[in-house]
Subunit: 368 residues, 4 copies
């Protein structure tokens, strides 16, 4: 619909007037009708080695509390996004957080939802709405929209985890609310037993209804533990893997079968040794974190090699295939699938040619 | 609204005519408006000792296959029900089934839904829609409406289980369909792996969506194992028990959070040693089977003593309270709660006086 | 599974003992496994001419209030039902009610749901939960489960309407509660404007959410008016009719798209002149009332001729086809479809042979 | 959490490195935690007089078809939005479209959803998925996500309507797909009767289920006619108006009671003469179009005077109150409420002080 306009004098006056009156001729918009998602935002990868080194250096150069900083966090900013978007993708932001022994992150709440995937350390916990949730490597913890949350760490070594938030979506639409728990900032005291929700709802298909039906729009579990997840994944390996997913489990809300939160879903994918999935693309923005093993992905024809605890992002409508190189690999994934489902915009496609595999014409190299 | 009618001649002629024309004066109906459920159907108890002795004798007097009988089953017929209802309550029927080593119950299907609670024996299994499900004491297995099912037993000793069916409801409303799997009757071959559904869906809050969303109106699990249930129950004992329920878990469909089948829900109740629940009543018909321990219940003011593997039924709107005598007791319960919920007829009440306890004015004694 | 049992002495003792112990050998049950609904309950028809004459005579022989009768009602008792069921079908009861000018039926409520289809008269109204609802011929009014309702009549001539209730279902399962509005019995005063719900919700797809979301399990409309229904039916006549339904509209709850009540759905069927539907059968029990015209139905091979204001019932799994003889005919229908849907037991079938038409081998003749 | 950082050499090197590695220290983000929506985007108003003059001039300076422009559209661009957002609010775009007699807008489809509110002209229609929908002033027509749609105009005078689209939301998140119906561009032929969906589903609570249950995520109606809406609004005027809404009707999907489309809801608000609503604010972005009358709104303390066919936008969390000046006024509203509901982010607030009225400290003056 591009129009090469001949700006004669009358037309020029018209354009000037409507601009002044906050109107825009649609016919001047040359980019309006992309036949599909543009692909301008590229997949990206953040190597754990860099990330970890940066986090440890951050401990030295920027102690928590210095000049008011509550949390020692580096966000993964996808440089191919528009400047106004500080996320890893258009809807989701990944970040890395380090808490030193004895430190606390004071409690607050916000309409932005988050989950925390634990990478290293023992002895840390998150207090969500008064409930302390143990954080151990491979687990993830929910801090849903508008739930109070703060972190504490009583173990002997640093805790590091990945945060995933829907900040680009919610703040991008100006729907953020934010509140400190107290002034001066403190950690909310625990008024529920440690890992209370797991004891109550931990066996998903056995519901203690007498404890009160959970009608919140998020999973009553608040935390999902890695050992159980891993066991469930390996229970599936007697079956054929999904050609495009490997062995995949979606974490669900036991009261509804739905996603863990209304804006973020989480899943875990086992790629057994040598498995190389066929390419697919869908509408979601998906963040992957390598929970175990090493391998590579081909994303829109570009090869991304990854190893344990690397993080990478696959944007909307980007072809993706994943391979375990060496032994088994496990990928944790967080995506905006629930948003697409709720708005009836979800679609997906499989790669029909060449046995489902894209030619990899380049390799992603992280800047050093 | 009872009316003492003076049948003068004209009125008599009127009554005769409308009767002939298949009409009935409502004003002659003296029982039409009971202010609440009538209480004519009484709670009942079937002692395991009797039941077991009868089942073993049935092995001798009535072998399976003799004169065409497929299944060696004694149904628990509540004698206080109207003659046309062969159930244990108005909607549910409990029965006891014994399968000897090497026997099979050939496959069939019917619109009546059933579950099987396993009491004793090892080595038996039910094949539901081609999937063999291992049956071990304390487990229960679903055979939902219109699913093919048959039983086989390859262990060394007799298997005994309790059947719970919605026969009085579904057949009472003439909604039964029934079909043999084959002629001559055979067991449906297994075309799915043993305990397939448990491997797929056994961790209720980790759903392998890639294996296909289960949209059936019943739980994709088909079986619930006792060890996991017991562990989940005891995980709750750090909390205060529900005054009217003890520690209670409702078995749920992990895809919906709803009941295991549209007409029957199942739950497990732990009464810790010395616990005596306060009285409540609700609209359901509930069958209880003593999974473990001994104790007693007070049902509409009558005391029912029970021990392991006894079965008792609590009809609609009957006051009920339960107590563990000796150590911990565990009760398995199956009820028609989903029917009441679906028809928006559910209601419940707690016993407000005397600390929530009814006076027990009599004791139930089973006929010998 | 019929078993010809040889009652030797030991077996006889066994049978006597288990009978005493409230147990029944399943193998003695020779009728247990009907391959489909039995067909023992037959379709039936109540001619309006008889009904009307009886109602008018009832005015003379049995005045309302005589000996305590609140309501002048003749119920249509299907004589092929088991004696314990006083309904027109296993789940639904139709009845005819006449209210003379100036009479009132005092308010009460019960868990049984009802609807009233108006046949003749002007000036009557039902007060449901304080709202007076105008009753005009062709309209129907809901009195859902546990809603207060009473009737009054301020017009110059008798009002007659058909009641449809789920009494056989709800009382049959002993789920009835009943309460008088006051003692002595009175009509509940109107505390809402006349036809309030129609003014609020009468345009189904324009919802005044600011007036409060209606979360009741029944339609917020409470009444559906015949002129709008008829107009909507005729709007469909530019289309081809459904081969098995004619032109059919299901009355719905505008907040959910679901049925008007959880146990009873209502629909209106236009058979244009000469239209003869093809045979189908389904699981519902359906009551038909001839809103307009005359015609006939073939029900399980028997011909039923009908004219305006006749009532007939089609039981579960009975083949049915309907024809307008003369001009257009309109049938009002009420069924238990929501129960079958909720319990996942609904099924239907069309008649595959002979162009979809059954041979009619007999004709139903009402007793005079 | 603002931090005045002292950039010593080591810190500077750290910052440079992490920037290179696509990481960002969260502690440098000084604006991260707005306590509520920022209010940077302001309400805006586009006067119909200007709009209409511009549209008519556009007919002369930019004929449809010149240089490829399909549609003669001026979009209402809120100048207080970030430059990357071309909308009227963060999620919704309003535009004005003029079609001259005999013109057509060829058919296409896109994942962006739209509705058209008709302002002037007779004889135009939109073909949606093969169905021609008559467009008359005060009506609105849906063109849901991914439905084919084109416009034609066979009347004697220009048609003008307002388009409302979710372009800023859907394209902002890169979820757009777009497809032409044919090449060369043509109007999709009508293969359904004119106003088919209205004939089928026009009486919202009478559903022709036999025509096929509509399981699409949008209303099966596709069009809502003004006369019926107006009548329904005035039927409510016997009641007290909502203090914050006046008399308000939400257009709904008769199959679900939900919004007309998953991303846009529509409602109509009657402010009777002299009515001045109390202030409220909520999370939605709402576009108002003056369907009838004149009045003014106070939006975050600024007065906006409006008259018939003016359009104004109220962004997220902006206080709003509306008053009819002179006679009755009717406002058509389209908002992103379904998105907020789906993501569980909706909240609202009423203005507690000063009788619910904000002081109006300034007046909005459109640029000329």
């Amino acid at each position: 619909m591009a129009v090469a306009v001949e700006p004669d004098a009358r037309l020029k006056a018209f354009y000037e007037r409507v601009e002044r009156q906050s109107l825009r001729p649609l016919w001047l918009n040359t980019s309006v009708n992309a036949s599909e998602p543009t692909g301008e935002v590229l997949p990206w990868l953040w190597p754990w080695k860099q990330m970890r080194a940066n986090m440890y250096e951050a401990c030295e150069v920027m102690p928590v509390g210095r000049d008011g900083a509550d949390r020692r966090v580096l966000t993964m900013r996808n440089p191919t996004l528009p400047a106004s978007n500080h996320g890893s993708s258009r809807t989701l932001l990944a970040a890395m957080q380090l808490v030193k022994p004895g430190e606390q992150a004071p409690s607050h709440r916000h309409t932005m939802a988050a989950l925390r995937y634990i990478i290293e350390g023992q002895g840390g916990y998150t207090i969500v709405n008064g409930q302390p949730l143990t954080m151990e490597p491979g687990d993830f913890v929910l801090t849903p929209s508008w739930c109070w949350h703060g972190h504490a760490h009583e173990g002997p070594e640093n805790m590091v985890w990945m945060d995933v938030l829907d900040v680009p979506l919610v703040r991008g639409l100006n729907w953020q609310f934010y509140e400190e728990y107290s002034e001066p900032k403190t950690l909310q005291p625990a008024d529920k037993p440690r890992d209370d929700s797991l004891r109550r709802f931990g066996t998903g298909s056995l519901l203690p209804h007498w404890m009160g039906r959970q009608d919140a729009p998020y999973s009553p579990l608040f935390a999902y533990k890695f050992p159980a997840t891993k066991e469930a994944l390996y229970r599936l390996t007697d079956y054929s893997a999904s050609p495009t997913e490997g062995y995949a489990l979606t974490f669900s809300n036991p009261f509804t079968g739905g996603p863990v939160m209304p804006t973020i879903s989480a899943s875990m994918h086992l790629l057994t040794a040598g498995l190389h999935t066929q390419a697919k693309r869908n509408m979601t923005n998906t963040l992957y974190h390598v929970a175990q093993g090493r391998g590579h992905s081909v994303l829109n024809g570009q090869r991304f090699d990854w190893e344990q605890d690397d993080t990478f992002v696959v944007p909307t409508w980007c072809w993706q295939e994943h391979a375990a190189d060496g032994g088994d690999a496990i990928l944790f994934a967080a995506s905006d699938a629930p948003v697409l489902q709720a708005l009836a915009l979800y679609r997906e496609e499989t790669y029909a040619t060449d046995g489902g595999h894209q030619p990899a014409t380049s390799t992603f190299t992280p800047a050093s």
